[in-house]
Each structure stands twice: as structure tokens, then as C-alpha cells.
């Protein structure tokens, strides 16, 4: 079980994890915070639905993918904990005909 050696530096904020409310430290690395919360698997693979968890923690392996605020295939190891964010497990391949993901607010058109 992953655990922190120090008190969380950020204040605890509420996020939604597969529809459940979970408290995580604001600003913490999202993949690490999810591992500490016992979350797993992070996703199942498109090819054979095999369970996967973070492997490299530096953005090269793409094992820690999750849907964040409706946008699929986000690398949780490259993201931070944001109050109110919604994280969902990705199961298997994405089905065609699913609703297009809304553009993330941070990248809104001017």
C-alpha cells in the first residue's frame, strides 16, 4: 500500500472517482494521490481488457490513462489534483458513437 511519509502539503479537496467522493491533497501528482487512495486498476486495455496501473510515472508509458472531466486518455502522472475534478476508469477500447469529449476549459478558444 502506498503511503506518504509527510503530512500532505496541499489542503484536502474533494474529487469524484468513478462517481464516489474522495479527498485528495490539492496540487498533488494525481497518479500518486490515486495510488495512495488504493485506486486500481486505473484502466483496462483496449486489446484484451487487461488491468493496468502506472508503470513509469514520467509520461512515457501511457499506462496511467484515465478519463478526467470527460476527456479520455489523460495521463494522470502528468496531472495534478484539482478540487471538484471527476476521474473515471477507462475500460477497454472506446466505443464508436460515444459523445464527443467537450474541449477542456483550459484550452478554450479565444
Amino acid at each position: 500500500m502506498f503511503r506518504s511519509l509527510t503530512e500532505p502539503t496541499g489542503r484536502l479537496v474533494t474529487v469524484s472517482l468513478d462517481g464516489r467522493s474522495v479527498e485528495l491533497p490539492e496540487g498533488d501528482n494525481l497518479a500518486v494521490a490515486l495510488l495512495r487512495a488504493g485506486h486500481g486498476p486505473f484502466r483496462t486495455t483496449p486489446a484484451k481488457a487487461a488491468p493496468r496501473q502506472p508503470y513509469c510515472m514520467m509520461g512515457v508509458c501511457f499506462e496511467c490513462l484515465a478519463e478526467i472531466d470527460g476527456v479520455p486518455n489523460r495521463q494522470t502522472c502528468q496531472e495534478r489534483v484539482v478540487p471538484g475534478q471527476s476521474i473515471r476508469r477507462q475500460d477497454g477500447a472506446r466505443s464508436t458513437g460515444s459523445a464527443a469529449a467537450p474541449a477542456p476549459a483550459a484550452r478554450g478558444t479565444p
Binding site: 506518504s4 509527510t6 502539503t9
Partner: protein
């Protein structure tokens, strides 16, 4: 966001002198030197804070006693401070997904766009060498680098893990865990028998060699003193479990061992993270000493693509000190190529940096020999071992395709989807090249590597369409 009180140099439509991809030691040192020489510099980095992997989070490290991560880590704080005060424009949490001659495209918290740049420096560093063993995709199996990142980023650890593999980073992370008081189940050392004897023959008289050797031996002594169970000459490593890791198995001599564990940290050295340089079209050669692809560069870091340079471990593994020196050298060369300094000034600045780099790199042949991963740990022989993690293509499938006459890595994609997942060949490229070479009797250079295409990282259609 700008570093310190730096001016906004990259207004829309403006051309910057030097765009740098990556804010590790090479990227930061290049930015500092280029800014000193009067160049307009922009640095993109995918992390939220500068430092790369080696100095990750070093400006705001977790409140652990300083000896846990050690002096080599904390030494990075000074470089980060100089970088943030350098006047170079710094764009954290930004992904550069396209690089071409004279421009690059990026996305980030402030939106994205395309930036024109007279010179581009790729300083994307290294990644851990793939470690394709049975079960390496199971939840609970991670890299030793990942363990260290969790420690640096969030002071997060896991008890009773097994560490397996070889190389300086593996022993360093184990030592850091021990200094933090974390229980370790075992260290399984895959360094082949006789490696130390072969390496000592290559040590020569390099002073840096002696200090590096002393550091390495110190780490091993520290691990032994802590009473960690160490198994040496470990072969045939496998991770066992159904939905997650239950145990690790291996062979020592003719005896098979099994150890129950919930976490396994793997590591067998690092290789250049070549995806950006390959996507740009920089020519690469296979380095038989380092067992990896590296871009073909001149002494200053100029690649085969005009205006595109590479510095740091992305150009060949040399460590953080040499990376910073190569970043400075590239920045001076860029300033000279752009006509900002004359040849005499360039040579006066380069001389001492080049000799320091030579001295620092004198130890590399020793390290490369000592920590050369065994062939069996790089080139899987068991058919069930997954080579491509993303698309779940195993060694047996690839061997069968090769037997049927598949000519190379690019065709193997079409036959099997190997290398076509989201990681874009990062976690299988080196394995596929070496496996192909092994099965066909050709050299890795003849086999070649996947053709890497843009985008360098997956982005949305909205990102590509632009604002």
C-alpha cells in the same frame, strides 16, 4: 508564465532565437547561457516545475531529511534558481507535439500554438530501458525510476517492495528508501557474473572514474549494512499474478526461487528518449556500447536537421553533469551560428566546457561495461513475454512474423499493431530492434527503428486545429 520578471519574448508571429524542449539539466543550462549571450529563449517542459527527472521538484522538495535524497539531488536547486532568474521565458506543463525546421507546436495551460524559432534544442533526456519479462504489465510492477519520482514529488513510498535489475539508479533508489526508513523485501541484482572484472579493466586512470566507483561501492555497502536481502546474478526474472502482482520468480544458477510480493520495481539502465528527435527526422545510429539509439550529433550538438540541436541524455547517456555542460555548449554554438558572438569568443567559451565534459565522461566506458544489461534481459526468449505493452503483442507473435519474412519494424506494425499504441513505441522500440536483429542475424543499425511520426504525444484534434 514567465521565469522571474522575464520579458514576454514570444508574442504571436515573433521569431525567437532559441526554443528549448525540456527543462532538465541540459535545457536549463542551455537557457541560462543563451540568455546571458543575449538570445531570446523560450523553454517548454511537460512537468509543472523545472528540474527534469533528476532534479524533479528540487526547488520545493518534500519535507524529508536532506540525506534521504542526498547531495547530488539537492545540488540541482542552484541550477533551477539560476534558470528561473535567467530571463528565459519558461512554459511549464506544456507539451511540444510537433517540431520542424524553424518552428514547433505546443499545447499547455495557456492554450497552444506554433512558435517560430531560429534554433531548436531538443533536451528531452532519458527514459528507463524497457525490461520485458513475463508479467511486467501486471498492476504492482513499476520502474525504480517511478519509485524515485513518487518519493521526490510526493514523499510517497510503499513497504516491502522487491527491487530488481541493475545500474546506478536502482541502487540509489534502494538506498534512498532505506534512508527514509522503508522496509525492502529484497534486491534482485541481475548484473551478469564477471561484469565487475570486465569493467575494472576499462576504468583507466580517470579521476571521475574513481569517484564514481567509490560512490557506487558506497551505495552497495549502505544497502548491505541495512541488512537487505541481496540475490546476485539473478536470471530469468518473471512477475507472477493474474489481475495483479502476487510474486516474483527468478533463477540463480540452476535453482529457481519465488518470493511473494505486492510491488516490484524494475530497472536496467536508461536510454535516450528519442521520439522527438526521430520525429523531426534527425539521423540516428545504434550505439553498441550503450545498447541504444542515439542521434548523430557534432561536438556542439547539431543534428542532421538544419537548425535542430540535441543536448543532454537525449543525445546519449552521460549523466546530469555532462548534460548541463552539453546544454551550455549547444547554447554557445547556437549564438555563434546566429552571428551573436564571433568565432574567437565562441572558442574561448567552449574550450573549458569541452575539457570539463571530457573529464566527466571518462568514466562512461567503465559504467557501460559494468552495467551492460544481459542479452536475455533485453531480448526476451519466452514466447509469452509481452514486447509491446500498449497493444499486447508478445514475443512469440513477433518471432512468427519475422519467420514469415517481415522485413523490419515498420512492417511489423502493420502485421501486429506492435508499436502503434499510445506510447508510440517508447516502451518497445529498443526491444523490437534488438529482437529483430537477434532473429535475423542483422545488426540493429541494419534493422532500424520505427518511423516515428508527429504528433510526438497524443493531442486532441482541437489542439492540432489551433485556437
Amino acid at each position: 508564465m514567465t521565469a522571474g520578471t522575464a520579458p514576454q519574448v514570444a508574442a504571436d508571429g515573433e521569431t525567437v532565437d532559441l526554443a528549448i524542449v525540456g527543462a532538465g539539466p541540459a535545457g536549463m543550462a542551455a537557457a541560462i547561457r543563451a540568455a546571458e549571450l543575449g538570445l531570446a529563449v523560450v523553454v517548454f517542459d511537460d512537468q509543472p516545475a523545472p528540474g527534469g527527472q533528476i532534479y524533479r521538484n528540487v526547488a520545493h522538495p518534500p519535507p524529508l531529511p536532506r540525506h534521504v535524497l542526498g547531495p547530488d539531488y539537492h545540488a540541482g536547486a542552484a541550477l533551477v534558481a539560476r534558470f528561473l532568474a535567467s530571463g528565459a521565458e519558461y512554459r511549464p506543463s506544456s507539451v511540444v507535439w510537433h517540431v520542424a525546421e524553424g518552428s514547433l507546436s505546443h499545447t499547455g495551460p495557456d492554450g497552444g500554438g506554433t512558435l517560430a524559432a531560429r534554433r531548436i534544442l531538443i533536451a528531452t533526456g532519458a527514459m528507463e530501458r524497457p525490461f520485458p519479462v513475463p508479467g511486467w504489465t501486471l498492476p504492482g510492477v513499476m520502474t525504480a525510476g517511478a519509485a524515485q519520482i513518487m518519493l521526490k514529488a510526493s514523499a510517497t513510498v510503499v513497504d516491502d517492495a522487491v527491487f530488481a535489475g541493475s545500474g546506478p539508479l536502482l541502487y540509489l533508489v534502494v538506498a534512498q528508501y532505506l534512508r527514509a526508513g522503508i522496509r525492502i523485501r529484497a534486491l534482485l541484482d541481475t548484473t551478469p557474473r564477471g561484469a565487475r572484472r570486465r569493467a575494472l579493466a576499462r576504468l583507466g586512470s580517470a579521476w571521475s572514474g574513481r569517484t564514481t566507483l567509490a560512490k557506487g561501492l558506497g551505495l552497495l555497502a549502505e544497502i548491505r549494512r541495512a541488512g537487505v536481502t541481496v540475490h546476485r546474478h539473478v536470471a530469468d526474472l518473471a512477475a507472477v499474478g493474474t489481475d495483479r502482482l502476487d510474486a516474483v520468480t527468478w533463477r540463480s544458477g540452476s535453482v529457481r526461487h519465488r518470493l511473494d510480493c505486492a510491488t516490484l520495481f524494475l530497472h536496467q539502465g536508461i536510454v535516450p528518449n528519442v521520439n522527438t528527435a526521430m520525429a523531426v527526422g534527425c539521423s540516428h545510429r545504434w550505439d553498441e556500447g550503450q545498447l541504444c539509439w542515439r542521434p548523430t550529433l557534432d561536438a556542439a550538438g547539431r543534428s542532421s536537421v538544419p537548425g535542430v540541436m540535441v543536448a543532454g541524455d537525449g543525445g546519449g547517456i552521460a549523466g546530469a553533469v555532462a548534460a548541463a555542460l552539453s546544454g551550455e555548449i549547444a547554447a554557445i554554438a547556437a549564438a555563434s551560428d546566429l552571428g551573436r558572438i564571433d568565432g574567437a569568443t565562441r572558442d574561448r567559451l567552449l574550450g573549458p566546457l569541452e575539457s570539463r565534459r571530457r573529464r566527466d565522461m571518462a568514466v562512461r566506458p567503465f559504467l557501460e561495461t559494468l552495467y551492460r544489461p544481459a542479452d536475455a534481459d533485453r531480448i526476451p526468449s519466452r514466447d509469452e513475454t509481452l514486447v509491446c505493452r500498449c497493444e499486447e503483442v508478445d514475443r512469440g507473435t513477433l518471432a512468427d512474423i519475422v519467420r514469415r519474412g517481415c522485413p523490419g519494424p515498420n512492417q511489423i506494425k502493420a502485421f501486429s499493431r506492435c508499436g502503434m499504441g499510445p506510447c508510440q513505441g517508447r516502451l518497445c522500440g529498443h526491444t523490437v530492434t534488438e529482437l529483430f536483429a537477434d532473429l535475423t542475424g542483422r545488426s540493429p543499425d541494419e534493422v532500424g527503428h520505427y518511423r516515428i511520426r508527429m504528433p510526438i504525444k497524443p493531442v486532441t484534434l482541437g489542439d492540432i486545429a489551433g485556437p
